[in-house]
Structure formats: structure tokens, C-alpha cells
């Protein structure tokens, strides 16, 4: 029976300087997999792993060492059979990720599978891993909460407005962090309507990126009246917007995100009717809480992985008795066909078809229970002895 091997390195054991040397895009990973035989290479920013059908993972390890440009003794981990499969299940479920439950890894596993041309064993293991990843995300809340400050800001805005489609955003400051938060809001459908900054050129540069309007800081009151979300991230030494400058809004809430240090927004804004204000500490507290929640959900996810590992074990064990079952069925079919052939021309074509059908049904019914019992026994410890008994009783030789 073909075994499964894994060789690889990840963020657990390798620093980023090493990981970036062995990181491959999908095509290069697929090429590496082809170069070592029946294999799939999974390469992300946090890991590069080669799953091989067979005992010999040395060519794969050699390929990784060539990419790294140095021996990787002590860094590469090697796993076999069930341990390798369970590792892949945990990876696909996001349980081995830097941020538990992160969603990208499932797509990366799928891409690695699609790019490679795996044999039956690897194909089955990867398909099951994808199913495990989906099941974990469906049955636990491990991936539901944001894991970064910018995604938490967007999720909080959605908690106020629901869908962010069509919501207008004012970005105060043209720095990288603010643009990142704005990008997160834009990815949820929000419109970056204004970018306000002391430097008009910097404001225009960021506004052009989001197809928004660049405005000066003196135009904040006008912009505030027309938006739903404000993201502030200037490098100003003091408060940029005071509570008294916020126009009264009778019907529409206004959500403020202040990710600047020192803070750009007057804390009193949070006390205004219809206004919600989150500063960087608040956002980090929310992220810490959601990450704690993810870790709690990870325990449930591990249970699901354990269930899937059991299914994998059962499937692998059933392979032990497959040759015996195949021989038994072939033997029975040989007898059935031989006895039918002896009838020669003594029966009509119609009678022959009836006999074919009846004898086939008898055969299937007779062999159904032994087949099921053999597979059940294979899942336990005595599958091999059952298979030997069948071979002995029926005089089979399946090699």
C-alpha cells in the first residue's frame, strides 16, 4: 500500500528570512511537486510543505534545501501517513496558522491541489483536507471575527450600518495605516468619498487611488456632513477634530475610527448622540478579544479534525482488505460466468439474459455481507487476519 510522506517548514520553526527563500508561487510549487514525483507542494508566506505519495521524501527535502541555499537539518519536519494527513487537515482548518482560523489558507490548499497532478492517495487526502477546512468554518466560529485592527474597524462599522455598500468614508490623513483601513472598508463596498490632509498633494495621491475627492483640513465640516464613517490617522501632534465641530446628525449615525497616536479625534465625540468613536486601544482590545474567541473555537475545531482523522484511518485500513475483496469477487464472477457458459445453446437469448441477471443478483447478495464485514474488520486491528482467512477458505491468490 502506498504511504504518505510530508516534508516542510513553517513559521513554527523557520524565521521569515528562511521562509521567504523557499516561498514559491503556485506554478513554481507545482513544478517542484512534479520534479519529485507524485507530490503536491503547498507554499504560502508561512509555510512551504511537500506532500509525497511514497516513503521517500528525500528528493523533496533536497529540493527545499536547494531553494534555501543551505542544509535544513533541524528545521525541516518530516511526517508520515496518518500524522502527515492530520497535519494537512489542521493546516486546511487554519489551526496551524499564525492567526487561528485565517481564511486564506483554505484557498491556498485548493490552489496547490488544482495546480498539481496528484495520484489517488494525495488527491483523496487533499480533498478530505478541503472538506475538513470547510466543515471547521461551518461548524465553529473560528473564522468569523476579524484578526487585525483594520479589519476590526471595518467589522465595527458594519455592526452599525449593516452592509457597507454605498456608505461614504472620510479619510483624515494620507498615511499608510489610514489607507489600509480605508482599503478594508472599500473592500466591503464602502466609497472613500474624501481624503483630507494638510498636504494637498498627499491627499490627492491617496484620493486618486480610491477615486475620492482630496480636500484640505479646513473643509472637514463640509465633508463630515456627507459621510457615514471617518478614519483618522494623521501624524498631527494634537487633536484635529473637536466634538463641537461635528455637525448634529438627527437620523444617520456617524462612526469614527481614530488610529492615530497621538489621537486625532476629541474623545468627547464618542459621547455625541448618534456618534461612535473607537481609538487604537479600543480596536486592539476588540482584536484581542476576537483572537481569544478564535482560540476557544480552535478546541472545537481540533475535535472535528480528530473525527476526520478517524475517518481517514478507517479508509486507509480498508485498503488493506481491498485486494482480498477484489480477488473474492473475481473468483465468484469466474465461477458464475463459467457455469453460464456451460449452458451453451440450450437456452434462448432471452433466457440467457434472465439467468445473467438472476445469477448476478445472487452473487451480489452472497458477497455483500462478507465484503462489509471485511471492511469493518479492516477498521479494527484484525483486518489482515480476516483477509488471510478469506484467501485461505476460497483458495485465492492475490499476491
Amino acid at each position: 500500500m502506498t504511504s504518505l510522506s510530508l516534508v516542510g517548514l513553517s513559521h513554527h520553526v523557520a524565521p521569515v528570512e528562511l521562509r521567504e527563500r523557499v516561498a514559491l508561487d503556485v506554478e513554481a510549487a507545482a513544478a517542484l511537486a512534479r520534479s519529485v514525483g507524485d507530490a503536491v507542494c503547498l507554499s504560502t508566506c508561512n509555510r512551504t510543505e511537500v506532500y509525497v505519495a511514497g516513503d521517500d521524501a528525500a528528493p523533496a527535502a533536497g529540493a527545499l534545501e536547494r531553494l534555501a541555499g543551505e542544509p535544513l537539518d533541524g528545521v525541516l519536519y518530516r511526517l508520515h501517513d496518518e500524522a502527515a494527513a492530520v497535519h494537512l487537515f489542521r493546516v486546511a482548518a487554519g489551526l496551524d496558522s499564525l492567526v487561528p482560523g485565517e481564511a486564506e489558507i483554505l484557498g491556498q490548499v485548493r490552489e496547490a491541489l488544482d495546480a498539481a497532478e496528484p495520484g489517488p492517495l494525495l488527491g483523496r487526502v487533499f480533498r478530505q483536507a478541503l472538506a475538513v477546512g470547510k466543515r471547521v468554518r461551518a461548524e465553529t466560529a473560528i473564522g468569523e471575527s476579524p484578526a487585525s485592527v483594520s479589519s476590526a474597524a471595518a467589522a465595527l462599522a458594519a455592526q452599525v450600518f449593516g452592509e457597507l455598500e454605498g456608505r461614504r468614508v472620510l479619510l483624515v490623513g494620507a498615511g499608510r495605516i489610514g489607507a489600509l483601513a480605508a482599503g478594508n472598508l472599500a473592500s466591503r463596498g464602502a466609497e472613500i468619498a474624501f481624503v483630507a490632509n494638510r498636504s494637498p498633494q498627499a491627499a490627492r495621491r491617496v484620493a486618486d487611488r480610491f477615486a475620492g475627492e482630496a480636500v484640505g483640513l479646513d473643509e472637514l465640516p463640509r465633508a463630515l456632513a456627507a459621510v457615514d464613517v471617518v478614519v483618522a490617522s494623521t501624524g498631527a501632534p494634537g487633536v484635529v477634530l473637536r466634538a463641537a465641530e461635528v455637525p448634529e446628525r438627527r437620523r444617520r449615525p456617524l462612526f469614527f475610527i481614530d488610529i492615530a497616536v497621538p489621537r486625532d479625534l476629541d474623545p468627547a465625540i464618542g459621547g455625541l448622540d448618534g456618534c461612535f468613536l473607537y481609538d487604537i486601544d479600543d480596536l486592539e482590545a476588540v482584536v484581542a478579544e476576537t483572537l481569544a474567541g478564535r482560540r476557544a473555537e480552535a478546541a472545537r475545531a481540533e475535535q472535528l479534525v480528530a473525527e476526520e482523522a478517524e475517518r481517514f484511518r478507517t479508509w486507509r485500513a480498508s485498503l488493506d482488505v481491498v485486494p482480498a475483496i477484489a480477488s473474492l469477487r473475481a473468483y465468484a464472477e469466474q465461477i458464475r460466468a463459467g457455469e453460464l457458459a456451460k449452458l451453451g445453446d440450450r437456452v434462448s437469448e432471452r433466457e440467457r439474459r434472465t439467468l445473467e441477471s438472476v445469477t448476478q443478483q445472487i452473487l451480489n447478495k452472497l458477497l455483500h455481507v462478507p465484503t462489509v464485514r471485511l471492511k469493518e474488520a479492516a477498521a479494527g486491528a484484525d483486518g489482515a487476519s480476516y483477509a488471510d482467512a478469506v484467501r485461505h477458505l476460497f483458495g485465492l491468490d492475490d499476491g
Binding site: 466560529a141 455592526q159 476588540v286
Partner: protein, 253 residues
């Protein structure tokens, strides 16, 4: 025999009231609501068939019907995974009121009323349906205030224990009131027509129900947003509670 249907309904509602406490059992809670509501529907149908008309004119009988309408409104509007906490707000009182209705004889009461069934369906049925809607609107408004408070004080677990977005809760509250108010209008109109035919004066319940109608009508016209709208929905519900639990006894006596 008919009364035996109380138990599956009560068990369903009771199970839902408990199971909504945890996200993991909320699916079982939703099934409890559905099965309980079906059992209560069968109970009400059996009561109506036995009475040959509209039998829920006693205080506890109308409470029985009121619970059914509240749960029906919840099933239509709020029986979704993200509204789990709405279930937690609605189902425990529904189960408790259902039990109160039984203890007061409302499940067994199925006597024929002295009014026609058409009038009772129009008047009692519509008023109770409207009250059920207002109850749901109050539960939604409570959720709004709670969620708004958490957002204001920047609760770190705001994304772990997630409610529907604030604006969805506000919109849903307003829509529930918008659906309920015409029902109350129809029910009140039927009652006023009957009152004029009888030449009777307004009693306290009728006056309070008119005040409730005026308050909710004002809410729909003025469309107050945010906390103000939620407080008004709760204020209207306080009038419903007084009307339903304090003043309704003896209205049809």
C-alpha cells in the same frame, strides 16, 4: 383531550426559552419554537372547532391567543441565527404567559361568547395581533438599546457576541410597528363601531388602547431615529402591557 396539546406547545416554548441561551443550542431552540407553535396552533384550532366560533374572549383565553400571535410574529420576523438574543428576549416571557393562561383556565375556556365571531376576529384578533407586533418591536428596540450601549462604551466583546447591525434593528422595529398599527386601527375601528351601536361609554382599556394607537401613529409619522425611537417603542409597549395584563380582565364581561 384538547388541553393535552398544551404540553407539547409548552415544552417546545420552554425548550426554546432555555436553549436560546447558548449559540450552540440555538438551532434546537428554533425547532422548539416551530414545533411548539404548531402544537399551539392545533390547540387553538381545536378550541375554535369545539366552541364553533371565537372562544378567546376571557382574560386568560385572549392571553393564550396573544402568546400564539407573538410567537407567530417572531417566527415571521426574527427567527434567524443572528437574532438568537431576540429569541432569548421573546421566548421566556411567551412560555411564562402561556403557563399563566393555562393556570387561569385560558386553555380550557372555550365557551361561546355573546358577540359574533366576525366581530371578535376583527376586534379581538386584530388588536391582539397588533399587540403581538408591538411586543416584538419592543424586543427589537431593547436589543437596539443594548447594542448601542455596547458600541458606545466600546465593549471589547462586541464582535464576539454579535447582534444584527444597529440600523437593521432600527429598520426592523419601525417595519414591525408599521405592520402592526393598521391591524390595531382595524381592531379599534371594529370596537368603536360596536360601542356606538351599544351606546356604551369608553372604558379604561379602550381609552388606553386609543392612547397606544396615537403613540405608535406618532412614531410612524415622526420617524424618530436612534435611541429616541427605541425608547418610544418601549413606551408604547408599556401601554400594551398595562392594557393586556391589567385592564383587559372583564372587558367582555
Amino acid at each position: 383531550m384538547v388541553e393535552a396539546l398544551f404540553w407539547p406547545a409548552f415544552l417546545g416554548y420552554g425548550e426554546a426559552a432555555l436553549a436560546y441561551a447558548s449559540a450552540r443550542t440555538s438551532r434546537a431552540a428554533t425547532w422548539g419554537v416551530r414545533l411548539g407553535w404548531l402544537a399551539q396552533t392545533a390547540l387553538l384550532a381545536a378550541q375554535a372547532a369545539r366552541a364553533g366560533g371565537f372562544p378567546w374572549t376571557s382574560w386568560s383565553g385572549s392571553l393564550d391567543l396573544f402568546v400564539w400571535l407573538v410567537v407567530a410574529a417572531y417566527l415571521v420576523w426574527g427567527c434567524r441565527p443572528r437574532f438568537r438574543l431576540l429569541g432569548l428576549a421573546v421566548m421566556p416571557p411567551a412560555a411564562a404567559l402561556f403557563l399563566v393562561a393555562r393556570l387561569d383556565g385560558g386553555i380550557a375556556a372555550a365557551g361561546r361568547a355573546r358577540y359574533s365571531s366576525v366581530f371578535l376576529v376583527l376586534h379581538v384578533g386584530f388588536v391582539l395581533a397588533a399587540f403581538a407586533g408591538f411586543t416584538l418591536a419592543a424586543a427589537l428596540a431593547s436589543l437596539y438599546l443594548w447594542e448601542e450601549g455596547r458600541l458606545k462604551r466600546r465593549a471589547p466583546d462586541i464582535l464576539r457576541l454579535r447582534l444584527p447591525p444597529l440600523q437593521s434593528l432600527e429598520r426592523l422595529t419601525r417595519r414591525t410597528i408599521a405592520v402592526s398599527l393598521p391591524l390595531l386601527t382595524l381592531g379599534l375601528a371594529a370596537g368603536i363601531v360596536r360601542l356606538r351601536e351599544d351606546g356604551s361609554p369608553l372604558d379604561a382599556l379602550e381609552a388606553l388602547t386609543l392612547a397606544t394607537w396615537a403613540l405608535y401613529g406618532g412614531v410612524l409619522l415622526a420617524r424618530p431615529a436612534g435611541r429616541r425611537g427605541a425608547y418610544l417603542a418601549l413606551g408604547g409597549f408599556a401601554l400594551v402591557v398595562v392594557a393586556r395584563l391589567v385592564l383587559s380582565a372583564g372587558h367582555f364581561a
